[in-house]
Symmetry: C14
Subunit: 88 residues, 14 copies
């Protein structure tokens, strides 16, 4: 394989793997947070506002790690510095 | 293998693996959230509206990580920048 | 192996693996949700309507990730863009 | 190996693996759902009709992911598009 | 290895593996269901008829995934379409 | 290696592995069922007849998956169709 | 390696592995059953006869899967059909 | 592969893997912390201010390990000292 | 490697592995049974005779799987049929 | 590959892996400590000062192991003694 | 490698691995038994004699599996039949 | 690769891996100890001095294993006896 | 590699691995026993003498498996029979 | 690679791995013991002297397995008998 193909293959593989692995942790964590939020609302319906607000802040923090992975994946596909170096 | 075949094979493998791995985390997480929602409704039937609403927001957040994977998978199959570079 | 065979083999392997791996997560998640639904009905028979309705919405969400995998698998078998590019 | 043999071997391997892996998740999930159904009937014998009905709907949903795998497996063995392309 | 041997070896390996892997999930699931049935009978002896009936329906559903694996295994050994194509 | 040796080696390896892997699931499952049966008898001595009968039916179902594996293993050793094809 | 050596090595490896892997599941399962039997006797000393009898039947069922593995192992060492075919 | 390509491929692979693996731990940890915060608010609504404040400090500490990974990933892509040494 | 060496190496490796793997399951199982026996004696000192007797029968059953492994290991080292075939 | 490239590739791989693996343990541990701190504050609001102080000391200790990893990673990228030995 | 070296290397590797793997199971099992013994003594100080005696019998049974491994390891190092066959 | 490069690569890889693996255990252990300390303070605020003191002694013991790893890592990078033997 | 080097390398690798793997099981087991001893002392301070004595006997038994591993490791490094055979 | 380099590389790899793997078990075990000690002090403040003393004896026992690993690691780096044999 020549250089261009090798880099393209490595980018394709990592773009997929990064997004795939990066979806496991956040999905589990969000599932746990949402499940606990539902349990807490059932236990203390009067605090549902505070609970919902804290939940959304937490989901945003957790989602951020998924987004790091998606961003790296998009960089590898569409703004790959090594690919640009070779093809330009 | 020539360059075109190598990139095609890598794209096929990652398109499948990304969607497959990306379905594990969200599925588990949604199962957990739905199960807890059902438990909370049974425990506090009066709050079923709040619970259902929070559940749907949470499911949307969790599903988003599955959709990231599906989107990367579709990009690799139908809008692959490296494939387009070689075949155009 | 020539290009056609390589792509066919990769497509066959990923079509199987994607559906197989993609059945683990949703199956577990649906099992959990159904089990909790049954437990909730036994605990609060009066809310069985709300519980059943929420269960079905949840099962639909979880099944969707299994369907993403099945769709990718069918695309690889019957609408594979790389195979079509080579054989047409 | 020539092309025909390679594709045959890949199809045989994936036909077996897909069905085998695809039996793990649904079997566990059905076991969980059935176990919980039995527990719920023992806890609330009066709701055994609702429980049994919800159980059967749930088992059908879970079994569907096992059937996806079995279908892909049968397609690979008896309606393999790549095999047909080569041998016809 | 010539084509006939390769396909025979692949068929032997997958026939064994498919049945072996396919026995893990259903066995665990049936063990769980039976254990819960016994626990439920001890807890509610009066419902032992309903419990036993639901148990048998559930065991049949779970056993079906084991039978899918056994069927694929037998097809690979005694009705292998690729083997027939080569040896006939 | 010639064809006969290759098929013999594959048959030996799978005959062992199939029985070995196929003993894990059923053993665990039977252990669980027996343990729960003992616990149920201790909890409800009056139902020991129903419990023992349900246990034996369940053990038979679970043992069946172990027997599938043993049968495949014996077929590979003593009634192997591919071996017979070559040596006869 | 010639054919005789290859088959001897495969038989040695599988004879060991089959017995080794086949001891894990039954050992765990018997440990679980015995532990639960002891717990049940302590809980209900009057039923110690029924418990002991059910335990021994259960242990016999579980031990049978270990014996399947031991039998396959002995067949591979002392009554190997492929070895006999070559050396006789 | 020449030196430039090798380093580019290693950088691409590690940039993806580092971010992907680095998202698992923090995501789980944040999910756990958020879930416990929601549970604590439901248990002690009067302390929701202290709980929220401690939660945010903790999330910042946990997120820092995810950011270490993202920073190393960005260094490998855009400020790689070994790549600069070779290409400048 | 000549035939004698190959068989000797395979026998050495499997003799060690079989005993090693075969010690894991029984050790865990005996630990569980002993621990439960101690717990049961503390709970019901009057039944210590029945408990001790059942424990010893159970330990003998569990130890038997460890002894199967040790026996296979000794056969491979000191009564190996394949080694005897070659060196005699 | 020449010496310079080999060392560069090894440094890149370990710089990424060290930070990535090193983020798993501390993240989990901090999540556990923070979650328990929130639970303790909810349980004993009067001791929130002591709890917060102990939490911060503990987080500093845990973070130190993450920082060891980050430091080794930075040394490998920017102060690598073996790289300096070769390129100077 | 000549025959002597190969057998020596295999013996060294298995001597170490057998003892190492063989220490995991018994150590865990003894830890569990000892922990439960301490718990039982604290719960029923009057039965400490029976508990200690049963504990020692149990530890001897568990230690026996560790000793099997150690014995095989010593045989491989100092009384290896295959090594003696070649060097004598 | 010449000797110098090989030793440099091995040192780089182990320096990273040792610190990375060595951060997992201590981090988890410290997280557990800190979490339990917070729980104990909440449960018995009067003993917070004894608890904090015992916690710090324990953290020092646990941290020592992380420091062993870091020390070995630094020795491999900056005081490697094998590297010094070759380059001096 | 000549014979001397091969045996030296195998001895080095197994000396390290045997001690390393052999420290996992005993460490966990001792941690469990010590933790339970502390819990038992807190629960029954009057029996602290019996508990401490039983704990020390148990720790000695558990430590013995770690010492087996250390002894094998030292034999491989300083009294290796195969090394002595070749170098003397 | 010549003999000196091979032995140096093996020693470097095992020195790192032994310390790294050897830190996991003791760290977890010490974390467990310390956590339980803190819990016991909170539960029975009057026995804090006995608890602390037993804890320190236990930590010394556990730390000893970590020290075995560290000692083997130092022997491999600075007193390696095989290295000395070749370089002296």
């Amino acid at each position: 394989m020549d250089s261009t193909t090798t880099i393209a293959v490595a980018s394709i593989i990592m773009a997929g793997l990064t997004t795939a692995i990066g979806s496991i942790g956040p999905a589990f964590a969000e599932g746990r947070a949402v499940a606990q939020a539902l349990s807490s609302i059932a236990q203390q319906p009067d605090s549902s506002n505070t609970i919902t607000r804290t939940l959304f802040v937490g989901l945003a923090m957790i989602e951020s790690t998924a987004i790091y992975c998606f961003v790296v994946s998009m960089i590898l596909l569409f703004a790959n510095p090594f690919w640009n170096h070779l093809t330009q």
